[in-house]
């Protein structure tokens, strides 16, 4: 019943799972924020996530060590990022289209490896919930924030860290300069290529970890097209968050809370067709993009490749 939605337990449940669902978006979107602030649109996030998710799952399953899984996702994501960086920075390939290419590559390869190396859907014992002493005992708040798995905590901690790096460090200044005016940055001795390599590889690593957070912390399975569009939403959230880590956090939370609400609506048997409910987060994202994007300006050099004049 609708009234069930407003009971305390359900509300806490919605919020707690909302935060949990936000983790993969957070990793991928924060990584993407770095790439885009330096002027590179990485549309291959979905493919990087899929390969990261598979690598993490497979390694965690075979070594029974979840951290090795995360490490595998970092390596695979980083390699995909490296390839993306080479193609867009050295070969000046169109960013959006090469991203689609990397997406298809990741989609196909992760499916191929899944069928060849696993064959069936298996489950892995993922990261357990960690109750933070004292804090987790606070009523309501404790249950929502402090009884999550470790990848959730890391994701949340990355938000202020990303804000600090982007806004308060020389590296952040260089990243922003390269994304706004690469010619000027270049003339001041900043290596545009090096900075972009850094951000795109970082973006790949974060997408890989985002995949891992799905396959060995949130869902604990791997199957074909596990991410089903999640990576593209992560890219949308960067626009939504106006290229700022805190904005990205707000977007990720909003999107996943709506998603969590939608899941609970189904659990409680409220008579809204589930297909319509699943649609809601997407419609909402479009609406919010309409309301926010027209007011903020993207990094000036976004999607523009840079070539040094002679």
């Amino acid at each position: 019943m609708i009234s069930d939605l407003f009971s305390m337990t359900v509300l806490v449940g919605i919020l707690a799972s909302g935060i949990r669902l936000a983790t993969p978006y957070l990793y991928a979107s924060i990584g993407e924020t770095f790439s885009q602030r330096s002027g590179v649109l990485n549309l291959g996030v979905e493919g990087q996530m899929l390969l990261g998710a598979f690598a993490a799952f497979y390694v965690a399953l075979t070594t029974e060590n979840l951290w090795f899984g995360v490490l595998a996702a970092i390596v695979v994501g980083g390699l995909m990022g490296l390839a993306m960086a080479f193609v867009t920075i050295n070969l000046h390939a169109e960013q959006g289209i090469s991203g689609i290419g990397f997406y298809l590559f990741g989609l196909g390869l992760s499916d191929l490896l899944f069928q060849k190396m696993l064959g069936t859907v298996e489950t892995v014992k993922g990261f357990p919930k960690v109750h933070i002493p004292v804090l987790s005992d606070i009523p309501v708040v404790g249950e929502i924030f402090f009884r999550q798995n470790v990848l959730v905590y890391i994701a949340l901690a990355l938000v202020p860290l990303a804000w600090f790096v982007l806004n308060k460090t020389t590296l952040g200044l260089k990243i922003r300069a390269v994304g706004e005016n690469p010619e000027a940055a270049d003339s001041l001795g900043v290596s545009v290529a090096r900075i972009r390599y850094f951000t795109v590889v970082l973006g790949g690593i974060m997408s890989g970890v985002a995949g891992a957070s799905l396959s060995i912390a949130l869902l604990n399975v791997f199957q074909q097209n596990l991410t089903s569009g999640l990576g593209f939403i992560a890219v949308a959230l960067v626009y939504f968050g106006a290229w700022r880590p805190w904005g990205v956090l707000a977007g990720a939370l909003l999107f996943s809370l709506i998603n969590s609400l939608q899941l609970w609506v189904q659990v409680l048997g409220i008579p809204i067709p589930s297909d319509i409910a699943v649609m809601m987060p997407y419609i909402l994202t479009i609406l919010v993009l309409v309301l926010t994007v027209s007011r903020v300006r993207p990094p000036s050099a976004l999607t523009k490749s840079f070539e040094r004049g002679d």
């Binding site: 000046h92 989609l107 191929l112 626009y239 997407y282 994202t285």
Partner: protein, 386 residues
Amino acid sequence: MSKSSQENWLPKLIDTALPVFATAAALLVGAIMLLLLKVNPVEAYKAMWDGAFGSQNALAETLVKATPLLLVGLGICISFRGDVINIGGEGQMIVGAILGTLVGLTLVDWPGWAVIPIAVVAGFIGGAIWGGIPGALKAYFNVNEILSTVMMNAIAVQLMNFLLRGPMIDPSQAALASKIPQTARLLEAFRLPRWVPTRLHLGALIAVVLAVLVYFLLWRTTWGYRIRAVGQNPDASRYAGVKVKNYIVLALVLSGAFAGLAGVMQVYGVNYRMITDGSASGFTGSAGFNGIVAALFGQLHPIGTIPASILFGALLVGANKMQRVVQVPSALITALNGLVVVFVVSSEIWRRRRQKRRMAVAVSEVEGQPPEGYPPDPDHQPEVPA
């Protein structure tokens, strides 16, 4: 033969052959992957070839698979030329198919010669609406079309699932416990003619005719000229008095409409009903994405997209055979398609470098400024009065 024409044809030939090199490179990577999977690549690729071209039926299946790729690809030629990145082919196919199917399921008393064209128009409109929404959002609200079209894909899938499980479900399935989410079958009179005994249908021919029409649209009409002008230089177009926003919307409307056609052709030519497995690719076979690959491969030229679609249709059909013969999942081909895209866009650098070199040569030859209008723009068209 003069020196300059000798210099001209070889690089031009290489330009045209670049996608072929890109495919060869992707297949080479595929061969390495096959070796890692302990499969003989020669055997695997031979199975693919047989599966795609080995018999009359195989060839027909290749063309059946190529048809939606070509239709989606034609739309992509229009939008990408207008610098609008339409990733929403999947959703546009679905919505086009829904509207087209509704026509066939509603007008059951009408004759086939009337229903089929109405259904085709309905599919065109369905895709146009689903493309037009992101187009309007881009033009008037500055919403990135890559993101909105991806969102529209997700919405279309859910819409399809909802309709096929509920309002549009096959009445005979609704009565059963299984409740397979599918519509009723189209009446026989409403199905596109086939080249019996194969599944090759009239849609393939229609798609080829449309390719020629799209070529005329893009290079012989004011609309097409302006779409391309807006794509190449929106600021200059604006100063020339072109209503840039309208042409952004038009590019996505047309692009979506062709994907919608692809959807309706799948229903009226191949499956005779809509059925869902819950995912977009279950209905589209990922043609919404692969059509992008085909169009890029055809260098965003409608005529070039025809052989490109056949190639990728062949890869898809061949992949199924390969899966049966050497037990390599056909997902390998999805991965290779991705590599082809990456290689094709990466090889563009060759063309740009050559253009630059040619300009430098011209400058040094006249020992001063390059002559006006050099390098000549191959797409140059006289200005059409606004």
